[in-house]
Structure formats: structure tokens, C-alpha cells
């Protein structure tokens, strides 16, 4: 037996390294893939062999998707998990999975990976041409010389600009665009950050240009349904608890605590009105975690005066803003509903807020009986007030630049994760000048 087949057999038995892109209507399903032991979700395409595109990815991200595809290590293949979407990704995938059942997807991914390793499927070729953005050229007649450390413009990329830093020194400032497929951000979120070392000096959100077709969200969610039809309060509250727990699980993944995240996700997928005590137990467990405490305490504080009137749900309430649309919703009258409010306003407070609200939502779901939410009444989604054309992400994103300024990059990622931005809402944002519209 040769060495190569033996190695291939061992490699085929290992969990498949997958880089997953959650398109519109696919965030929850992609998050739940963490529970699949045969898949290994990675944060960088270079660590993956399978590029999983779930749901629908808008056509204006075709260039970025192609670059992402080319970043995946060879042998590689892309796989589309449609999840009810009829819009194929802008880059034709090698394999399509039309069944929404995650076990069918896992089977398909494992089989694709095995066949790829055994040479039954060929690795997909690079999509982009093999060209540097520009040749290395300095100002001299032979391409030599110039300013900066190396002289010239290396491969068309200028050297970093110099700017004053906090200590009065003039040092290089690196401008990078992170996103739209950065693993820890919602798909579609592009941050242009100016970094000195790993300190964010400036950040702003780049929005998709107006005129680009909005993504059709074919997969309905409970809260989107509640805008048009009466939905039982118990269903809404169970969905709220699920959403909060999922958000906590993604924060735990971002803090490199995947085992805890799996525990929370498992709980989220089997959530039941009788389990509010289990949520409290979870709260105690997370409060005891020192690693999580160090990573979230004092990170990304948002003062309450910035959040006054923004109706951004748990984010605002974690900063002490007592605003909840459910207080005026007739369906909640007599249920004994009182908004929970934390102070602190940092990532830790937001996590504690979501856990407390998840427990409260389960209690409300148990007490709600057959009450229904009236579509005419204002609706409190897990991320704040939701109305047609008035999305919580639109009100949250303008806060980001001021919050991220002066932060280390790791804390900046924790902060974005702690805001629990909805992928569908971020993908739906459009602006004529690519700047965030002022709410």
C-alpha cells in the first residue's frame, strides 16, 4: 500500500474543514452546523477545502465571493445549500444541496470532500486571473527608487500613510476593508478600518450601493410574519429566547469557547417554556467563566445617551435605557411583563441582558396562553423595534464608528459580535453614496 492512499484515507476520516458563508435567510442554520461533529467550521478560507454557501448571496458580492473562493486551499470545491432560496449564488457552485435537513448537507459535504481527496472530483480552478494588481515599479527609469521603506509601489499597493498616534508619534496607518465574508461578522458587513498596530484609529461602515438588487428573503421568520399576520405570543417569545441564545453562542465562538457554544446551541434548538430555570443555571455558568469575563468586561461600552430613543432592544436595555415595545403591546397586558434593564452597557452587560431576557421570554411563553400579537401593534423583535422599512440594524450600525475608535482589533470584533446584527438586515442595507444613512 502506498503512502499517498493511506494518508488520503486518514484525511477523509477527519472532520471536513469548511468555510461557511451564511447568505440571506441562512444565519441560524449555519450557526447550528457547529453541532455537527463531522464538520469543522474554520475562520479562514486557507484552512478549508470546502466553501459552503448557504441561502442566497446577492449578485453585487460576486467579486468578493470569487476572491474568497480563490483563497480556499486546494483541493477545493464550493457547495450551495439552497435553504429554500431560488437565487443561485453569483459564482456557480460545484455541488447543490436542495434539502434543508442539516444531516443531508453533512452527508453531501463529507462525500464531496472524500471524493475530492480520492481524485474522483477535480479541484475547482481559480476564478480570478493570475495577475498582480500592478507590477512593482518605483519612480526611477528602471523601476527602482522612490519614497517609503522599499521605494516605489509594491505590486500596485502603496505604502501606508503616516498619521499621528495617541502618544504624539507619527506612525504608519494601515487602511483595510474587512468583510463582507469575515467569519465573525454578519455576511455583507464591510468595515473600513484604519489600524496603527492592532489599534483601530478610525472605522466606518461601507454600505452596498443603491440600485443593487435587494436579496429576496424566501425563508420567512416568525418576527417577519408577525408584521402581517397575528402570531401567538408564546411562539414569538420562544423564538425570542432561541434568538438570544443563538446570539450568545456566536459570541462564545468568537471568544474561542466552542464547547460552551455547543451547549448553548443545543439548548436553543430544544428550547421549551419550562426551561427558564435552566437558563438561570446557564447564566451562573457563564458568569463564573473567568476567560469570558476578561474578554468582555469593559469592552465596547455604549453610553445610554447615545441609545436613547434608538429602540435597539437588548443593546439599549443593557445600557440602562428602559425601552421595550412590549410595554405598549395590548397582547402583553396582564402578563406581568416588566422590561429587564442592566447597566454597564459593555459586551458583558449585553450578554447578561440577553440571557435574562431569554429566561423571561420562556416564562412569558408559558403564561401567554392563546394570546395573539396584533400586526397593527408595534413589534419588539429580539434586536429591537421592527417595522416594515425600519430595521434594527439601520439604527445600530451608525453607532459603530464611535464605539470602535481606539479599540484593539480583538475587542472591536467582540463588540460587533455583541451587537447581534441580523445578516438579512445587513444584506438589505443600501445607500446612494455607500455611507450609512443617518437614522
Amino acid at each position: 500500500m502506498g503512502l499517498r492512499p493511506a494518508v488520503e484515507r486518514v484525511a477523509a476520516r477527519a472532520p471536513v474543514p469548511v468555510f461557511a458563508v451564511a447568505g440571506a435567510g441562512a444565519q441560524a442554520q449555519v450557526d447550528d452546523l457547529l453541532l455537527q461533529p463531522r464538520l469543522h467550521l474554520v475562520d479562514s478560507p486557507a484552512a478549508a477545502n470546502v466553501l459552503l454557501i448557504a441561502g442566497s448571496v446577492p449578485a453585487h458580492l460576486a467579486g468578493e465571493l470569487a476572491r474568497l473562493h480563490d483563497g480556499v486551499s486546494r483541493p477545493r470545491l464550493s457547495l450551495w445549500w439552497s435553504l429554500g432560496s431560488s437565487v443561485a449564488p453569483p459564482m456557480p457552485p460545484a455541488v447543490e444541496v436542495l434539502d434543508a435537513d442539516p444531516s443531508v448537507l453533512v452527508e453531501a459535504v463529507v462525500d464531496t470532500h472524500r471524493r475530492l481527496l480520492f481524485g474522483e472530483l477535480t479541484s475547482s480552478p481559480p476564478v480570478l486571473p493570475d495577475e498582480e494588481p500592478a507590477p512593482w515599479r518605483g519612480i526611477g527609469p528602471y523601476g527602482q527608487g522612490g519614497t517609503g521603506m522599499t521605494g516605489g509601489v509594491p505590486y500596485g499597493r502603496p505604502m501606508a500613510e503616516v498619521a499621528p498616534d495617541r502618544d504624539g508619534l507619527r506612525l504608519d496607518q494601515l487602511t483595510v476593508r474587512i468583510g463582507p465574508f469575515f467569519a465573525r461578522f454578519p455576511t455583507g458587513l464591510v468595515l473600513e478600518v484604519q489600524l496603527q498596530g492592532d489599534v483601530v484609529q478610525q472605522a466606518h461602515v461601507v454600505v452596498a450601493p443603491e440600485g443593487e438588487a435587494a436579496v429576496e428573503v424566501d425563508v420567512p421568520t416568525t418576527f417577519r410574519d408577525a408584521l402581517n399576520t397575528p402570531v401567538p405570543v408564546s411562539v414569538l417569545e420562544l423564538e425570542r429566547a432561541r434568538s438570544h441564545l443563538r446570539s450568545i453562542a456566536s459570541a462564545l465562538v468568537a471568544h474561542q469557547l466552542p464547547s460552551l457554544a455547543r451547549r448553548v446551541l443545543r439548548f436553543a434548538s430544544n428550547v421549551h417554556p419550562d426551561q427558564s430555570e435552566d437558563v438561570q443555571r446557564l447564566h451562573r455558568l457563564l458568569r463564573r467563566s473567568q476567560v469570558l469575563g476578561w474578554a468582555t468586561k469593559g469592552v465596547g461600552p455604549i453610553p445610554s445617551d447615545q441609545l436613547e430613543g434608538t429602540a435597539t432592544g437588548p443593546v439599549a436595555r443593557a445600557s440602562g435605557v428602559d425601552q421595550d415595545e412590549r410595554t405598549t403591546d395590548p397582547a402583553y397586558l396582564g402578563l406581568g411583563f416588566e422590561p429587564i434593564v442592566h447597566d454597564g452597557g459593555d459586551a458583558r452587560a449585553r450578554m447578561a441582558q440577553r440571557l435574562a431576557e431569554a429566561g423571561q421570554a420562556l416564562q412569558l411563553a408559558g403564561r401567554a396562553g392563546d394570546r395573539h400579537h396584533d400586526p397593527e401593534a408595534s413589534l419588539e423583535s429580539p434586536r429591537g423595534r421592527l417595522a416594515v422599512g425600519d430595521l434594527p440594524a439601520q439604527r445600530l450600525l451608525p453607532l459603530l464608528p464611535a464605539v470602535l475608535e481606539g479599540m484593539e482589533w480583538g475587542d472591536a470584533v467582540s463588540t460587533v459580535v455583541s451587537l447581534d446584527l441580523d445578516t438579512d438586515e445587513v444584506l438589505a442595507l443600501r445607500s446612494p453614496d455607500r455611507e450609512l444613512p443617518v437614522p
Binding site: 479562514s44 480563490d70 521603506m149 504608519d172 483595510v176
Partner: protein, 120 residues
């Protein structure tokens, strides 16, 4: 002849070092990015290309910690002669060293208050 022996040993070390260097370089060239296209070599930023070259000078913030370490390291050097006379001088020597360390500590507290130890 015996005088040349150390030279032979040095030559052997030089030859082995050169061979090792060439071997490591060739192995690295052979395994790193063979046949990769330009977009495949680009660092991952989430889908966007880097616009600016990543070679940049940034503030090495650990230098303050390094300076503090040096200050206390030198203090240790002063403690060697002090330890010799400590038995003879007794309490006065202890008080003098206490004052010296206190002055240094006040310096650290001042730096702390001025946020010189802040990393980011």
C-alpha cells in the same frame, strides 16, 4: 599540523551550516505556494483586496515594560554590594534600600497614573 585542527572544526561547522541553510530554503520554496495564482496568495480580509501594503511601522508598546524591567534589573545590581554591607550596617542599610525601592515604585505608580502602561 595540530594548529590546523581548530580550523578544520570551524570549516566543518561552516559547511554544515551552509548545507542546512540551503536545504531549509529549498524545502520552504518547494512547499510554499507552488503554482498559486496572485489572488490565491493574497491575505484574507473577508473578500476585499488589501489596498495598502502591509509593511508598516507601528508603535511597539511593550517598550515601556522593557524600560521598567531594566530599571528594576539595575536595582538588583545595586543590591549585591548592599547585601555585603547589610550584616555590618543593620537597620540603617535596610531603611536606605527601602527608600531606594520606594522612590522607584513611586516612578512606576506615576507612569501607571499617566497611563503609560496602557497597551491600546
Amino acid at each position: 599540523m595540530a594548529a590546523l585542527e581548530p580550523l578544520g572544526a570551524a570549516l566543518a561547522v561552516f559547511v554544515f551550516a551552509t548545507i542546512a541553510l540551503v536545504a531549509i530554503r529549498s524545502a520552504s520554496d518547494a512547499t510554499a505556494g507552488v503554482g498559486e495564482t496572485a489572488p490565491e496568495r493574497v491575505p484574507f480580509l473577508g473578500g476585499h483586496e488589501p489596498d495598502v501594503h502591509a509593511w508598516s511601522r507601528f508603535h511597539a508598546r511593550y517598550y515601556v515594560m522593557a524600560l521598567l524591567f531594566l530599571a528594576f534589573d539595575m536595582e538588583m545590581v545595586f543590591m549585591y554590594p548592599w547585601a555585603v554591607v547589610f550584616v555590618r550596617e543593620g537597620g540603617i542599610a535596610l531603611a536606605e534600600m527601602g527608600m531606594f525601592i520606594t522612590i522607584l515604585l513611586v516612578g512606576v505608580l506615576y507612569a501607571w497614573r499617566e497611563r503609560a502602561l496602557r497597551w491600546a
